[in-house]
Each structure stands twice: as structure tokens, then as C-alpha cells.
């Protein structure tokens, strides 16, 4: 199903006036200049890629389009008219639709209600006619491959399913421009495929798409044109033959940094067993899992979204209770009844959802980083006053090591870009240094440069004897990073891959082992 990008664009080339023309947009937050005067034009039917390192200003630009925040200066022309987008409602009226990086939905409402949110609804005698609406939505839901019933509550859905709900919403609205901020971050390969098909479809029917992603393969494949942001400025524009991977990487990282693949497998010999997992189950998601995790090893868990990997991590970490099975930590029976017990026993977890599960957005970088390491910075356990110097020096060291882009350690973490927030969560466990560290999607939303750094960091931690378990839905990520990879399918380990058998295709194949 290859798609001829040039063709689709040519059809719409006739319309010379761009749908959207942003000129010299400037935006600063306090002392931080998020955008330094960027310009960007989009034609109808165009799929426009937007790339850039974490904190480059991509989401800020989108928030201005969406009416979530207002530019300090600059002009926005839509269909040849100078506009200031006042509110999200206004943005929708102008024909723009958004699927934001941080997913927005109403947990207690049904799928159908979420899709229709903010849209005019068919009514009878003033009452909403849900039957008629369902009939309208159903085909759209099928088109995006949403398999849950329309009457299911949104809170019972997985992240991927929520994404599909958001995409449905954009389709139902019949937008002229759809902006997607890192849409594939939580989709499986097949779901991503379906999304690409939809994007191509939209493009053919004249809808413009602004596509933000750190995954350059997708960008190369989908986009007619690409703009690269760096430090709040649009530094390069690519189209046609100029649109190549090396050129994009160069533009994103600014040439001074070329991502090196992590130097993995320094230590081929597996260390002693850190964690033993036998028959661990919690229905319906986890149906009986066995594996050993060794010191000094990076063990990957691959598979499709929904395979139950996050749930497995939650069981090991004591968030949920197991129905059956046993675990051993360094040979001792291990049955944590809460995360705090798990942490005390020497575990750490970087959760999947950093905003809701890992961070206190209004609190400072230092506060967030030190949260699991408080015993390490008190003057004395009986009178647990915090040693503020130690707190500062420790935090600053980690911020430096991880190259977290932040004005200071007292900056609220919510003001950092997504990738930098992720680094803060990982930094937390650098301070605590647990024996076993579980990372659930550690590089989701992280730029190519930082991704390399995080990978190197993970390898370093393993080299120092930590046992590391990495969950990732990106088949590309695990082979580079891990010594071994377990592929999980429908709540069970379907395959173990290592050595020469450990590659992208093998992971994908194993992921679909039972599913098809």
C-alpha cells in the first residue's frame, strides 16, 4: 500500500493560497523564549511534518494555533484572513482540529459521548438522539479500527484506544486541518499503519495535516514537506529530494551532536539473578508469566499495545495484587503489597504516563527528582530535616548528566517540554539507584538526541550492575538496547529473542504470533 506523495500534492497545487500561513510567531514564557519568530505555511491536502528536539517549540506552536495560548507577536492568516485564535472553540470554527500530545478525554463518559464532545448533536424534542448519532459514528469508528463498543466508558480504554477515539472525533468534525502531536507514540505497528492510511485518505480529500513526530521513518514516509524547529526557530524546510533522514537529523540536532547507538552488550556474561518471576497472573490482562532478570542485564519486553506489559510491570511493582504466581528478589520471596514496599525492597519504576503517573507538574524539577530519594537527603533519620545543599548539588548533578533542558532546578516541571519531563522521571531513579529498574516506554515522545542519551544511560546503569527491564512498543527500539527481549502476547510470554535472533522483524513476527 505505497502511496504516491507527489501525486496527491500536485492535485492540490492549483490552490496557490495556503490554507494556513503563520508569520513570525513569537512566544515567551517568563524568561524562556519558546518561539523566536517562526513562519510556516500549509496548503490544503498537504501533509506537513514538524520535527525538532525536545523543547524546540513544536507543541507551543500548536497551542497557539489551537487558541490555548496566545502569541506575543506575529500574524496568523487562515484562508487569506488575519485572525487571532481566541479559544479552542474558535479554532474549531476556523476548521482546525487537534489531537494534542497529552491526551484529552472525559474518563467517565462513553466513547460515543467523547467523540461527540463539543459538536452539535441531533436532537428530538430537545433530547439528544443517541441512536441516530451512533449510526453516524459507527462507520467512522470502523474506519479507524476502533473495536470497543461505542457505549464503553472511556476510562476502561487503553491509551491506544483513546487515541483512536480522538482521531474519530477529528474525522467526525470534518476539519480542514488536522494537527497531530506525536500520534503514533502509543500505537502498535498495525494501528499506526491504519492511521497512515487514514492520513493519506484525508490528504487526498483536501484536508491538510500537520504531523509532529520524533519518528523520522514516519515523517519520511508520510510528509510532502517538513519544517524543522530548533530552539524556537524554524531552521530548515525540506521537500522532494531534499527530504532525507540524515538531513533531518542534522537539522534537528544542529550538527553538533550525532546520536551514537548505545554501546550495548559490554558485559555478555549474565550476572546473578536479580528477579525471578514464576506463573505471575492477574486476569484478564496477565495470564501467567515466567522469566528471570539478571544483574547487569537489559531485558526488553516487546509486543503490541494491550498485550498486558504495563500490567505485568504494575504487578511486579506492587501496584496491583497478583491472583497467582510467585516472585523472588535476590533469592528471597518477594510479594510487594504496595509500591512503597517494592521501592524499599530495591525496585524502581518509570511509568508509562509521565504526567499522570510520575510527575507533580506544579512542583519543581528538584522536588520531582528527589521524591524517591528523600531518605538520602535528610540530615538525620529521627529529625528528618532536609539538607538543602545536598538536595541542590545532587539534583544539579543529575540535571547535568541527563542534559535536562530547564532554566533551573526550581522550575516547575510542567514548564518543561515532554522529553525533558521524561528525563526528570528517569533522573529520580538515578538518585535512588534501585537494584531493579523497570522502564515502561522510556523514550516515548523523546527526540532522537535524547533518545540516544537515555539508551546510553540505561546501558550504563546495567553496566554498573543494575537489572533493567524495558517495555517498549517500538520494535526498533529494543534490538539496539537490550541483551534479551521477551515478546508478550495476550498476557503471556510468546517468545524469547536474543543474539542473532534479536531484530526488528523477529519482534514484530512474534508479536502477532497468536493474535492473527
Amino acid at each position: 500500500m505505497m502511496f504516491d506523495k507527489q501525486d496527491a500534492l500536485a492535485e492540490n497545487d492549483a490552490e496557490l493560497q495556503p490554507f494556513l500561513d503563520a508569520k513570525d510567531i513569537v512566544k515567551s514564557y517568563g524568561g524562556v523564549q519558546a518561539l523566536k519568530g517562526v513562519s510556516l505555511a500549509l496548503r490544503a491536502g498537504e501533509v506537513h511534518g514538524l520535527v525538532g528536539a525536545n523543547g524546540a517549540g513544536k507543541s507551543t506552536f500548536i497551542k497557539i494555533l489551537a487558541g490555548l495560548t496566545r502569541a506575543d507577536s506575529g500574524d496568523l492568516w487562515i484562508d487569506g484572513e488575519d485572525v487571532v485564535v481566541m479559544t479552542p472553540h474558535h479554532a474549531a470554527e476556523l476548521g482546525m482540529n487537534f489531537i494534542h500530545q497529552e491526551l484529552a478525554f472525559i474518563p467517565d463518559m462513553t466513547v460515543m459521548e467523547n467523540i461527540m464532545l463539543g459538536l452539535p448533536k441531533k436532537t428530538r424534542l430537545g433530547l439528544v438522539d443517541w441512536k441516530a448519532i451512533a449510526a453516524n459514528i459507527q462507520p467512522v469508528a470502523e474506519r479507524v479500527g476502533l473495536k470497543v463498543p461505542l457505549t464503553a466508558k472511556a476510562k476502561t480504554l487503553s491509551t491506544a484506544e483513546i487515541w483512536l477515539v480522538n482521531i474519530c472525533r477529528a474525522l467526525v468534525r470534518k476539519a480542514r486541518l488536522i494537527v497531530m502531536d506525536e500520534p503514533t507514540a502509543s500505537l502498535s505497528a498495525s494501528e499506526a499503519e491504519r492511521l497512515f492510511a487514514i492520513i493519506e485518505d484525508l490528504s487526498r480529500s483536501g484536508v491538510a495535516v500537520l504531523y509532529v513526530s520524533h519518528r523520522l521513518d514516519e515523517i519520511l514516509r508520510l510528509c510532502h514537506r517538513v519544517t524543522a524547529f530548533r530552539d524556537g526557530a524554524a531552521v530548515a524546510r525540506f521537500e522532494g529530494d531534499g527530504l532525507t533522514r540524515p538531513a533531518l537529523v542534522e537539522a534537528i540536532v544542529g550538527g553538533d551532536l550525532h546520536p551514537i547507538p548505545a554501546d550495548k552488550r559490554v558485559n555478555h556474561d549474565l550476572g546473578t539473578v536479580a528477579l525471578t518471576v514464576r506463573g505471575v497472573a492477574r486476569l484478564p490482562m496477565v495470564k501467567g508469566v515466567d522469566f528471570d532478570l539478571h544483574h547487569g542485564e537489559v531485558l526488553g519486553i516487546g509486543g503490541l499495545v494491550g498485550a498486558g506489559r504495563s500490567e505485568l510491570a504494575r504487578l511486579i511493582y506492587g501496584v496491583d495484587r497478583v491472583d497467582a504466581g510467585e516472585m523472588k528478589l535476590k533469592g528471597q520471596p518477594f510479594a510487594p503489597r504496595s509500591p512503597s514496599e517494592a521501592v524499599k525492597a530495591g525496585l524502581g519504576l518509570v511509568p508509562e504516563e509521565r504526567r499522570s503517573e510520575a510527575l507533580l507538574l506544579t512542583k519543581s524539577v528538584a522536588f520531582n527528582m528527589q521524591l524517591s530519594n528523600l531518605a538520602g537527603i535528610v540530615r538525620n533519620p529521627v529529625l528528618p530535616l532536609i539538607d538543602r545543599n545536598r538536595r541542590r548539588s545532587q539534583t544539579e548533578a543529575v540535571v547535568r548528566d541527563l542534559a535536562v533542558k530547564t532554566p533551573g532546578i526550581e522550575t516547575p516541571v510542567g514548564q518543561l517540554s515532554g522529553g525533558n519531563q521524561q528525563k526528570v522521571v528517569i533522573g529520580r531513579w538515578l538518585l535512588r539507584r534501585p537494584g531493579v529498574l523497570i522502564l515502561d516506554e522510556p523514550t516515548r515522545g523523546v527526540d532522537v538526541g535524547a533518545r540516544g542519551e537515555i539508551h546510553r544511560l540505561i546501558r550504563d546503569l546495567a553496566a554498573q550492575g543494575m537489572a533493567v527491564l524495558v517495555i517498549s512498543s517500538e520494535p526498533d527500539e529494543l534490538p539496539d538496547l537490550c541483551d534479551r527481549v521477551l515478546v508478550m502476547v495476550e498476557g503471556r510470554i510468546a517468545r524469547e529473542l536474543h543474539g542473532d535472533h534479536l531484530n526488528r522483524n523477529a519482534i514484530i513476527q512474534a508479536s502477532y504470533a497468536h493474535a492473527s
Binding site: 479559544t87 472553540h89 478525554f105 467517565d108 464532545l117 463539543g118
Partner: protein
């Protein structure tokens, strides 16, 4: 405690489902159980049509003000002004009828309009001045108390209240059902339809469920919040009017004590049927539990101190059973 949960961890799926069902209906089951218990304890006086009608009649005012409050909490805000507002409106309506000699329907319409205005003020302070709703509505409530004093100098308006006004809450104009009950039922039915079946209701639920997401979906969050406060204010006004009609006078601070009762009903209700969500039906169940609890303990003639203790215990147990059942079922 933790052992108990540990012991339960191998609960079969079936018993979990049963527990889940129980949890959903625990407050309702509690209400029924309470009614049965009091019927056994006071077989002559408690389980009579007359007594039940009385309890409902009595609870109607609480239900109206609590249903209004529910609208404010559904949009994610607290409204602490309702008790003070109801007191003021009770004085206002008697004042308009007695001193200004306005026809009763006109006075009522004006006062309900005044209630909407109070709600609008609350809403504007919360959404435009961005004042936390606790402070905003406490502030507005304090101002209203001052106004009530200014209007009546603190002296209840008793003399010259026409019988026609008292008849509003004492009458039984349709099928012999007390008017209060009919008025309450209409208000509740209207609000239920509004929230559950209309498109504004969808926006109201969305704003309460996740204001950021609602805003992103193009819903005007401020307008919906203001609407919630306005409805809450109008219900408070209606309660004040009916209370004045029932007491036969407009009295400063007569309705102040509705605040806590309404809160108890609303929060009790949030444990009913849905998990921690506020909704109109839940609020009504909550108000019934409180009303029948008070009535049953009264009729049984429990000593005063134990009435307090038992009322407190009823609140906690009704919600506790439901929450605990739910959390075990989901564990």
C-alpha cells in the same frame, strides 16, 4: 485491613461481579434496609402512607436545594452560598408580598430571578475573577447574609403574610399530593433530563469530568460553569420561597442549616450507582437516606445523643459499604 484484602485476592470472578453489583446499589440497599428496620421497630407509626408522605414532603426542600447544588458540583465547583441565599430569598419573597404588596406569582418570579442573579455573580467571580469557588461562594454568602440583615434589620417578617402564600407549601392541589412533593419532583425531573438527555447536559458532564479536555473540545467551560451556579442559585431561591411559605415568615438565617444537609445528600449520592460521580438521582437517594434516618430515629424515640451518633454512622456506613465493595470487586 491489608490482610483482609490479601485474603480476598482469590475471589472468584463471579463473586467479584456480585460484589460490584452490591457496591453499585449499596446506598439504595442501605436505604431499604433502614426503612425495613424502622418499620419493625415502630410498626405502628413509621410504615404508614401518612408518615412516608410527611417525610417526603419534609425532605422536598432539602432535595430541591441539593439538586441545585448537584449542578454546581457536577461542573466541578462548590457552592457554599446556597444556605445563606435561601435565607435571604425567603425574607425577600415575604417582604415583596407583605411590604411591597406584589401579587404572589410576581414576587416568586422576581425572587427566582434574584436567585439566578446570585448564581450568576458566583459564576462570574469563579470564572472571570478566577477565585476558588470555596472562597467565592463563602464571600458571596457572607454578602447575602449582610443583605438579608439590611433588608429586614434581622427581624423576621411575620405579620400580614397572606394565607394564599402559606397555601403554596401547605396545599395539595393535585391528586391530594402535597405541593412541595410535586414541585420537587418537577425540578428533579427537569434537571435529570437536562443533565442526562440534552446536549447542554453533555457539556455539563464534560466540564465536570475533565475541564481541560472539555475546553479542547471547544466547549465554553466558563459559560457552563456559570450555568451550573445559576441553576444552583435558582434552586436555592425556590427552597427559600417554599421554606418561607412553610414557616409562614421570612427569617434571616432560617435556611442556613440546609448547607450541610445538602452537602451530605450530594456526597452520599455520589456513591450511589456511579463511582464517585455526582448525579441527580444519587442526590435524591442521599436526601432520602438522611430524611428517613432522621424520621425513623425520631419516631423510635432514640435519646438525643444516640440520634447524632447513629446519624453519623449511617452516613459513613452507607458510603463505606459501597466504596469498600467496589474497591474489593475491582482489586
Amino acid at each position: 485491613m491489608s490482610e483482609m484484602t490479601a485474603g480476598n485476592r482469590r475471589l472468584s470472578a463471579r463473586s467479584k461481579a456480585r460484589l460490584g453489583f452490591f457496591a453499585r446499589y449499596a446506598t439504595i440497599i442501605g436505604l431499604v434496609a433502614m426503612i425495613v428496620l424502622f418499620s419493625v421497630l415502630s410498626p405502628k407509626a413509621f410504615p404508614t402512607v401518612l408518615n412516608f408522605t410527611n417525610v417526603l414532603n419534609q425532605a422536598s426542600l432539602t432535595m430541591i436545594i441539593a439538586a441545585g447544588l448537584t449542578m454546581a458540583v457536577i461542573v466541578g465547583e462548590l457552592d457554599l452560598s446556597i444556605g445563606f441565599a435561601a435565607s435571604l430569598h425567603g425574607i425577600l419573597v415575604t417582604g415583596l408580598i407583605v411590604s411591597n404588596e406584589l401579587p404572589i406569582p410576581v414576587a416568586i418570579v422576581i425572587v427566582i430571578g434574584a436567585g439566578a442573579l446570585v448564581g450568576l455573580l458566583n459564576g462570574l467571580v469563579v470564572t472571570k475573577l478566577k477565585v476558588n469557588s470555596v472562597i467565592a461562594t463563602l464571600g458571596v454568602g457572607t454578602i447575602l447574609t449582610g443583605l438579608a440583615f439590611a433588608y429586614s434589620a434581622g427581624v423576621p417578617i411575620v405579620r400580614g403574610v397572606p394565607d394564599a402564600f402559606l397555601d403554596i407549601s401547605l396545599g395539595r392541589w393535585v391528586f391530594g399530593i402535597p405541593n412541595n412533593i410535586l414541585i420537587m419532583a418537577s425540578v428533579v425531573a427537569f434537571l435529570w433530563l437536562l443533565v442526562e438527555r440534552t446536549s447542554i447536559g453533555q457539556e455539563i458532564q464534560a466540564v465536570g469530568g475533565n475541564p481541560a479536555a472539555a475546553r479542547l473540545a471547544g466547549i465554553s467551560v466558563d459559560r457552563i460553569k456559570i450555568l451550573g451556579f445559576i441553576i444552583s442559585g435558582m434552586c436555592a431561591a425556590l427552597t427559600g420561597i417554599l421554606l418561607a411559605s412553610r414557616l409562614g415568615s421570612g427569617t434571616a438565617s432560617a435556611a442556613d442549616s440546609y448547607l450541610l444537609t445538602a452537602f451530605a445528600a450530594v456526597f452520599l449520592g455520589s456513591a450511589t450507582l456511579r463511582d464517585g460521580e455526582f448525579h441527580i438521582v444519587g442526590t435524591i437517594i442521599g436526601a432520602l437516606i438522611i430524611a428517613f434516618g432522621f424520621n425513623g430515629l425520631n419516631i423510635f424515640g432514640a435519646p438525643t445523643f444516640s440520634q447524632y451518633v447513629l446519624q453519623g454512622a449511617i452516613l459513613i456506613i452507607a458510603v463505606g459499604l459501597s466504596s469498600l465493595g467496589r474497591s474489593i470487586a475491582e482489586s
